[in-house]
Symmetry: D4
Subunit: 146 residues, 8 copies
């Protein structure tokens, strides 16, 4: 059973496509990811007390979220790191660097038009995919029972 961490963009359904694609093929893969509900994620630290400063509210939530993401990334065998066409997405690049330093293999998933700014992130990746279908195809190959 392979553990695959899905990092990055939360505004399209790429996670669902990969999960259902793997499910349809019966692949021996389990998936994990950060909490992908944007509002819940931003409010992750609020239950510990409200903050007056936006910086500290973000800081507190980011650290709570990091308990989860750090643990799941360290447990995974492979990460898929998705860059969409909107927002800064620095957290996705951060996760890629985290994987690279751990020696955990990752595959990037993004369109061709952002190849140049992603060159360092792709340079440490094991593969670059452009569609969720390609990722499912790779997962099928990687987990092939002989």
């Amino acid at each position: 059973m392979w553990q695959v961490y899905l990092s990055g963009e939360i505004h399209t359904d790429w996670r669902d496509q990969i999960i259902s694609g793997a499910d349809q093929r019966g692949l021996p893969v389990t998936f994990s990811s950060a909490v992908t509900d944007h509002e819940a994620s931003d409010a992750a630290g609020d239950s510990l007390g409200k903050e007056a400063s936006p910086f500290w509210r973000d800081h507190k939530s980011a650290k709570v979220n990091a308990i989860r993401t750090k643990t799941l990334i360290e447990q995974c065998d492979l990460a898929i790191i998705r860059f969409g066409d909107k927002y800064k997405q620095w957290n996705a690049a951060f996760d890629a660097g985290y994987c690279a330093a751990l020696g955990t293999p990752y595959i990037t998933l993004h369109d061709a038009d952002i190849v140049h700014p992603l060159k360092e992130v792709d340079g440490s990746a094991m593969a670059w995919a452009q569609t969720p279908e390609q990722v499912v195809e790779l997962l099928g190959y990687l987990t092939l029972q002989q």
Copy 2:
């Protein structure tokens, strides 16, 4: 002697300000960074043969650059990671994640208006500075001889 790695933005003179500020105060710090000449960096792999595909040209150069950056980051005691107001700067966020996984402390250097998209990167940082002067001030404190 502290080894400090300077990562990120290459279009303003923040590196020079930190280096000369530390120099003026006689701090026991040496600095390192990626090759910061943009064109030379993009062409880092060209001496190994030209590539027809832009992806592979970028890939080859990114990997040559990674020999340098990976080595210097692994040798440093502290990284300063700068985000400016232009470009994607995914390599800076990648370096931050790399430091985080290694347990190497880093300080971010950026304006207040990008606090929210940088919350995961700041969440793992040891400090957030807004000016090169603040970084020099911190370096003075950190290397204080008693």
Copy 3:
């Protein structure tokens, strides 16, 4: 399934509150901790022979207890470290430092009036909670199935 280690104060029922709170919500969490029976813990080494010197009796018991605590801390995904209002509780701070060096995330649980002397311990924590209910709330968030 998350492994959560509960470190610190043994004179109030904070462990029970967290365990039963997690149980009521059906969270995928298992808990571990040191032997929390104070007398049994102080006598942990007595079965190996009585000691004349209080120092060596303590030493022998401390090392027996460390077999258990070290093993459980190294296996856990997350530690909750509780500081009450009595005693020195250096073992709780010791466990926090141990987690920090391992890169294991921990959450502190203490009242606001000891924020200043705990600043180094809180500085390396991923979160500071003031009540067991807040810890249960966080565990619910961290283990959210999407």
Copy 4:
């Protein structure tokens, strides 16, 4: 040349006694420690901007201080960890746990009346000394040239 980190109490002159004792005997030892000026240490993060909340002021300073202490502890061959008769001193116990997890040997330095509450900290120590002179004596033995 041995690197020795001096952790703990900042209100008596035990550091000076060890340093001058080692100096008088010409021992091949260099010493390091946290910034020991109490006010400067509490204000370590102030240059990055004032905080309204005492918790976040402490937090910011603690993280700046941790850049220094973490780096110096990871570089040392041996730590001396001092517990005095005042204050909570949780940071000293935290440093002891940090050393224990790294496998870095440490020696505790404290009076006999706190042996029991320090049993876990002493249990992972390589030695317990009661006076700075004993520490100097040990350093002389440890660095003996044959």
Copy 5:
């Protein structure tokens, strides 16, 4: 249950002999290996887009295959590394070096006539076997229940 990785030659049935031999003896061993279908392996990256350059086609496939092999080697308790009498088989020697650096024990499986060129690879091995039967015999011994 022992995890055994089978590396190297894909043109004879040595893997099947070991697996069926272990199966007949009911040994508590599971086996893993690279994708051993030569054509599928060379084409591992093709689903991500065709490459004009043979070097980059090979490169892309090699990295996809490395996701699998690296993960399985890091999970195994023991590797069997087979050198046949044809081809360069540099990947088998690469896997041996990878195991050596990880501290993972490996057994080589090859004929006597290539002892000299394999001396470095054998020098770091825990044993040298000449037949699959010998490997099965060793697995039986290693997993003996007493």
Copy 6:
């Protein structure tokens, strides 16, 4: 479930006493050890071909045995290391050093008359027991469910 490795003397029934003692108390512990049949152990490498030189016969068998012992020691949570009153038993002291370097806790089991020559081995141990019953008692304490 704790994994306990039993190292050392193979000429008395101390292993059986510990295993049956743990079994009678229903402790959540599994045990492992080297192959304890002396002749089989000395002959561990013979199936790979006979050796003319006694040194190389021993060497070959020692390395085959090390595949097993190294793997089981690295998997265990705790080792019990037994020294009897006969033979050199350097392999037991070797296993103790191996555990010490890994940070794996171990308990020594030996009579009082060899305390002095075992002082380095005991110095890195977490406890010294004199009887198998004491070991079972400790295992009961260490695995206490609260």
Copy 7:
């Protein structure tokens, strides 16, 4: 100052070309390698006593050589791994695997006609060079002082 390890082929003067090229450019690089005198290397263990069996003579020498090569590879920042057009050169591929597992970057140096059998070795490399001049060029770039 960068430490560069030169691994592989010992029958052409590629090492000299790189060393003198770096020397002429005054690069801050020091080089190391295995003992490259073929006969001396094969005889590395002979001073410990002659062996009747060719396997054990090779084995003894290989392990003596490994003391040197393992130490130098673990100390280097970068390895250059050369494959010529003769011999099996499994030791070069072994060194590449060793570097890969350590996370030490390496550059391969070989002609285009062996790209396919080297695809796994190249797949984990940071660059592929075809001439010693290209390697010197890269070293100049990597060690650029800004």
Copy 8:
């Protein structure tokens, strides 16, 4: 410059022979070892206070000595581990196991008549020497400047 740790027997002059042999040949090697004055070593902890129990006196001294030996072993590139014909010498076997777990190469130095009881220790060694001259010869080879 190679760091070589000399472990084991303290009743013959093998250390002096190796050190003076290396000195005469001008080898780039520095040597370290435990405190080899038997009485001083047994009394290493006495300056911290006398102990009534022989076990605790030994324990205290063993731990003080371990600060030195552990540090020097972790710093060395190579250990020479000597077994003489007297005493139990479990500390030498302990050091060998410690080196093995760290991946630090070691060479054993002992007569042929104890080959069998040392088979596990020799099995993890990189070489077995019978005389100090052979060790010096190996050091000369290992540090050869080309």
